[in-house]
């Protein structure tokens, strides 16, 4: 039995155990600013708080949508989970086992269970390899003999809708965007992973092709019992595709909950603002006011207290003094938000409204 078969992680712990549990994930990047001489730094060291204390869990077989704008940290979070970059702090538990920690599973085994599809379908493929070679590379890296790896590659190409005789010998530049993304999906599936991270995987595709690829992903999920982390900026697609949604802002999770709760009854001002910023499809009911002013801020040295308070119409004095806690909002404990308005103990109700020049009046 090759290493590939050996490291298959069978389901442990049953359906109640989350497939992936992330706690306290943190990643700060130093900002290098130097003065006239290269070893002299100007001012105190500043940091980009790309991911600042992110906790969440993904249940088996669900699709968790992750939304947020530039600087929110969703892509960095994805790369931290995939261990492409190392976190400063935090733990990852995959189906009850720690990852690459003492006594936990080896990184190579983890890699077999978790795969990622990137946004840029062209950059994700080596221009010098044929599609069949590209897909077969991973299994071969895990010890599968070349002939079997090629056979598996051809079977996967067929599964994603690309005839292997036609597409196996082609190179990346000969395929269209949608076809390339299918190859990327096939490559990710070559390991028979249990969790697939889709980092804006359909964002660069034409809308008509996007629908095809989303349908393919849906089918594959049902067929293989996959779990998805679906990062996207397209709120319509996230609503259709996800079971639960996580909203990020400036390196933190501000709200997480079932998709209908988020879209129907958001409990964080940023979530509401984000949802109302989606352009209207009805010419008789055009958007009249922008929910937020200015651009999403840069996560360098974020402000104390609530990070959204500078742009929030509901901000009060307590928001600057205390950072809000992440609290459950319903009896099932599935919908959480990080806002003082939901926290009876925060003193929000009696706090004075803050004069907020940056919020939309």
């Amino acid at each position: 039995m090759s290493a590939l078969e050996q490291s298959a992680v069978a389901d442990r712990g049953g359906p109640a155990q989350p497939l992936l549990s992330v706690k306290g994930l943190q990643k700060h990047f130093p900002v290098r600013e130097s003065g006239a001489l290269p070893w002299v730094k100007k001012g105190p060291a500043r940091k980009v708080h790309a991911v600042d204390g992110v906790d969440f869990a993904v249940a088996k077989g669900e699709t968790l949508g992750i939304v947020g704008e530039s600087g929110c940290g969703k892509s960095t979070t994805a790369r931290l989970i995939a261990r492409l970059i190392d976190a400063d702090q935090g733990s990852l538990v995959f189906d009850g086992e720690g990852v690459a920690e003492f006594g936990g599973m080896a990184l190579k085994d983890y890699r077999r269970n978790l795969q990622m599809v990137f946004q840029d379908s062209f950059a994700s493929l080596n221009p010098r390899l044929t599609m069949e070679e590209a897909i077969a590379f991973g299994p071969r890296a895990h010890g599968l003999p070349a002939r079997e790896a090629s056979a598996r590659a051809r079977a996967l190409l067929a599964r994603v809708g690309l005839a292997p005789e036609q597409f196996g010998g082609r190179y990346a530049h000969e395929l269209s965007g949608g076809q390339r993304q299918r190859v990327n999906i096939a490559r990710a599936l070559a390991f028979e992973p249990r969790l697939l991270i889709l980092d804006e995987a359909v964002a660069a595709l034409d809308k008509s092709v996007q629908a095809q690829v989303l349908n393919l992903l849906r089918e594959l999920k049902e067929e293989r019992g996959l779990t998805y982390l679906f990062i996207s900026h397209d709120l319509h697609v996230v609503r259709y595709f996800s079971d639960r949604v996580m909203v990020m802002y400036l390196g933190q999770v501000v709200e997480i909950g079932p998709v209908e709760a988020i879209y129907g009854a958001a409990r964080h001002p940023y979530t509401s603002a984000l949802l109302s910023a989606v352009p209207s499809m009805d010419p008789a009911n055009r958007t009249q006011r922008s929910p937020l002013a200015g651009d999403p801020p840069n996560p360098i040295d974020p402000p104390a207290g609530c990070r959204f308070r500078d742009r929030c119409v509901h901000a009060r004095a307590v928001c600057a003094e205390q950072a809000p806690r992440m609290l459950p909002l319903d009896a099932d404990g599935r919908h959480f938000a990080r806002c003082h308005m939901n926290d009876l103990a925060s003193g929000y109700a009696s706090s004075a409204p803050a004069a907020n020049p940056e919020a939309v009046q």
Binding site: E69, S70, S176, G177, G178, Q179, D206, K207, S208, V209, Q210, A211, Q212, L214, N215, R218, H233, D234, L235, H236, V237, R239, Y240, F241, V259, A273, L274, A277, V278, P279, S280, M281, D282, P283, A284, R286, T287, Q288, R289, S290, P291, L292, A293, G294, D295, P296
Partner: protein, 328 residues
């Protein structure tokens, strides 16, 4: 009805290179004064090529163009040299998708706006700078006076896009061409820029052509929509008509692909296949290979735009349109 500001007739554009691509095939449309036309389509549809053709931005060595373009009283196809330079920016100007690429990183934003103004009008440098400041304030850039002396890399994405709009409006063009101006922006910034464009257009009475692949964005700013496919216009009409009563199967498919109100447990209605290869367009309707209603006539003859019942300005190029054609 008064004469339209922009009139395009039988525009054909071909690119020559390793392969010859027919980017535009017989495109004709009008744009009235003060009207906003949304140009919708996917990659290879010809929407960006149309805008670039209106400003004659293609490299002449590799491009062959034919047809008529009239803006106001100017015959654009005949423009050359100094007259062409005056036209670009003066009568018609463009807002690009990536403001980071449209600005020169070595000069401040203010300097670039002033340079544009001075290139078109005979006013002093001080007057030009005052006008640049006024423009920056009009596009709602906070602390405009300070930002005038900022470099493009010092501004955020949304602010750069506003600055680019200011640059495009510097010489009060009658026609503004916007090539996917909000595609690269975050959602909350996009809606701000869309509202800004709508406001400015109403205030200044410009005609605007807004190219995008995002139907929502087009609906927010446009009066009329035109859908392009394979280098041709396949449907045009008022926004309400096209979005709520699409006549062309491609438009209907595109609307369905926006994933609004699709029940979660159902497969998405997806148009099979992929956009056509512009170097090898099929003889008949370009959409026929992907269309569920295609017949032999569709594969042999290119359909012409014909008016639909209800509104003669709602037209579709289809032998089996989803609506009844007028006087069929």
């Amino acid at each position: 009805m008064s004469k339209p500001l922009l009139s395009v007739r039988d525009l054909n554009v071909r690119f020559h290179g390793e392969r010859n691509a027919s980017a535009l095939n017989g495109v004709s449309f009008d744009l009235a004064e003060g009207e906003v036309l949304g140009l919708l389509g996917e990659s290879g549809s010809g929407k960006s090529v149309t805008l670039r053709t209106l400003l004659k931005l293609h490299p002449p060595a590799r491009t062959s163009m034919s047809g008529h373009i009239r803006v106001g009283d100017t015959d654009v196809m005949a423009l050359q040299g100094r007259a062409l330079e005056q036209y670009r920016g003066g009568m018609a100007s463009m807002v690009f998708q990536d403001p980071g690429l449209a600005f020169d990183p070595l000069y401040t934003v203010g300097e670039q706006i002033v340079e544009t103004i001075l290139a078109h009008e005979r006013i002093g440098a001080d007057a030009a700078r005052a006008r640049a400041l006024e423009l920056m304030e009009r596009v709602q850039i906070p602390q405009a006076r300070r930002r005038l002396d900022a470099y493009p890399f010092e501004m955020s994405g949304g602010m750069r896009q506003r600055a680019m709009i200011a640059l495009a409006l510097a010489c009060r063009p009658k026609l503004l061409l916007a090539d996917e101006p909000t595609t690269a922006l975050d959602a909350t910034v996009q809606i701000q820029v869309l509202l800004l464009l709508r406001e400015l257009q109403r205030e200044l009475g410009m005609s605007v052509i807004f190219v995008t692949h995002d139907i929502g964005a087009a609906v927010e700013v446009s009066d009329r929509l035109a859908v392009m496919y394979g280098g041709r216009i396949v449907e045009e009409g008022s926004v309400a008509d096209v979005v709520q009563r699409p006549a062309h199967p491609y438009t209907a498919g595109l609307l369905a692909s926006t994933v609004v109100d699709v029940p979660r447990d159902q497969a998405l209605p997806a148009i099979p296949g992929a956009p056509p290869d512009l170097a090898a367009l099929p003889p008949g309707c370009a959409f026929a290979p992907r269309c569920a209603h295609a017949s032999a006539q569709c594969r042999e003859q290119v359909p012409a735009l014909q008016a639909m019942e209800g509104d003669e300005r709602h037209r579709a190029a289809c032998w089996h349109a989803l609506l009844q054609p007028a006087h069929a």
